[in-house]
Amino acid sequence: MRRISRIAAPVLALGLILAACGDDNSSSTDETTAPAEETTTAETTETADTTSGTEDNTATEVDVASLGLIADGKLTVCTDAPYPPFEFQDETTNEWTGFDMDVVREIAAGIGEGLELAVTVQPFDGIWLAPKAGTCDMVASAMTITEERQANALFTDGYFDADQSLLVRAEDEDTLNSLEALAGKTIAVQTGTTGESYAEENATDATLKSFDEPAAMFLALEGKQVDAILQDLPVNAERALKDDKTVLTATFPTGEQYGFAVAQDNTALGDALNAGISELKANGKYDEIYAKYFAK
């Protein structure tokens, strides 16, 4: 028996893989329609409490089944977290929160009552390709809309204006306040971001050092391995607010806007998200969330 099972194991494994592949295909096409609607009615009451005020949003009637969601009753969102104040986990409740998460949760509630948020964390590198790869339905990751990214993903309308900015150590406040002043110095940027592209184009006299995540950049700034961090304004501003060893010395208006991304062929979800964004802006919810994270 033992000898047989040793040979049979790989074959069984292969069989299982094939079976699993088959299942995936069928469930996403055939079964979505009926059960999705059943769960929405069943869970309405519970989710209404957490999302506060879903009743205003029911105006946009969207057929949830037409959105091609990868998991029934769930809007799966890819994000590169933690990236406060846009996406991070609440320390006490462990719930995903932040500007992006709150906006998406609110939009989801408008699309279909009981449509829950499922969050998938992955590095920012090429994150806009994730919906195409089937990892998630959409990307909400403080992501600027660029032409290059649009070639491989369908972006929603912009939902947030994000300029670039410069964060330096407090003692350099008066000296390092422009890109010219940083000639010969080292600037930290995050790999694959628009901040990196902006620095490549405009800070040609400085050395650029690229990092995987903001946390590493902040450590490098504190340890004096870099002299400045060039990245999206809200993230630098948040840091300067929390950490008095750092200070924001310059902002660069770039006209950048954050957008959500979905797979190129999923126009249904793209349209639903756009409708959600304009509705949130119209009914005041957007301003409410904005004030929560970017209080002046």
């Binding site: 000898r3 047989i4 040979i7 049979a8 790989p10 074959v11 292969l14 069989g15 094939l18 592949c21 590198d125 090429g126 390709l129 290059e148 990214r149 070639a151 491989n152 080292t186 930290a188 790999t191 694959g192 050395t207 650029l208 050092k209 690229s210 990092f211 995987d212 590493a216 950049m217 450590l219 490098a220 504190e222 340890g223 004096k224 391995q225 870099v226």
Partner: protein, 263 residues
């Protein structure tokens, strides 16, 4: 069942082979090779990776690996000898060091040492190569120390006793009799350690990279950003293989040879 044991075995084996072949054929048919090639191995993108991937990225990976290995081997040798020493504090130190550095992921050690030391002391790493190689060497030394210790213990006791009875000091016997023989035993595992180190260099980029210091993995990841295609990662993987496969084959060959030699 009137089948004999052998017949039954043959039947089962035949069934298993048939099923395997059928499964492979199914997979080959199911895969859309054109799409797969377009997503993972687009020829124009492959060409674009060269020569930078070799002159820059491969060069940096090799530098990190060699610094890490030389540092790790020297320190590992010292730790192995301390570990086997008759002086208790030496043994304690070596044992603690090995436990701690083997027990913490390299990624965490890199972050703690690479960022933590300058923040805590104000001292600066002289350059990114040192900043990346030193944590790599410290972690490697913990693993190498255990390999070297096993090698030293595998040298027959009589060798030390004979050397001492000829009037050699412990240090001299260790340096000229024991360690040379131990190394002959541990060359294959050390080669594997070297291969592990090559792959571990891909973590160094968490400390930040400039255009001049990016390693193979970072080069591939940046390529994905630039091209919106996964091909650069596949090319980087192939370059890693071009480094590692010859080494593992070399290790296997040396292992066979040393087995034959000792027989």
């Amino acid at each position: 069942m009137s089948l004999s044991r052998r017949q039954r075995l043959r039947l089962v084996r035949g069934g298993v082979y048939t099923a395997t072949v059928a499964a492979l054929v199914l997979i080959l048919l199911a895969v859309d090779w054109g799409a797969l090639g377009g997503a993972l191995f687009k020829w124009e993108i492959v060409k674009d990776q060269f020569p930078d991937i070799l002159t820059n990225a491969l060069r940096n990976t090799v530098i990190f690996t060699i610094f890490g290995f030389i540092g790790g081997l020297s320190l590992g040798l010292l730790l192995a000898i301390m570990r086997l020493s008759s002086v208790k504090p030496y043994r304690w130190f070596a044992a603690t060091y090995i436990e701690v550095l083997r027990g913490i992921p390299l990624l965490v050690t890199l972050l703690i040492l690479g960022f933590g030391i300058p923040i805590a002391t104000g001292w600066q790493w002289p350059n990114p190569y040192v900043q990346g190689s030193v944590p790599l060497a410290l972690v490697a030394s913990a693993y190498i120390a255990e390999t070297v210790r096993a090698g030293i213990e595998a040298v027959p006791r009589g060798q030390m006793e004979a050397a001492r009875s000829l009037g050699m000091s412990y240090t001299r016997a260790m340096a000229t009799i024991i360690i040379p023989q131990a190394f002959r035993i541990i060359v294959p595992p050390l080669t594997n350690e070297f291969v592990l180190l090559i792959k571990d260099t891909s973590l160094i980029s968490v400390l930040g990279v400039t255009a001049k210091t990016l390693d193979l993995a970072r080069f591939g990841r940046n390529g994905v950003n630039d091209t919106a295609n996964a091909t650069p990662l596949v090319v980087a993987g192939l370059v890693y293989l071009a480094l590692t496969v010859p080494l593992t084959q070399l290790a296997a060959w040396m292992e066979r040879r040393s087995k034959a030699g000792r027989r």
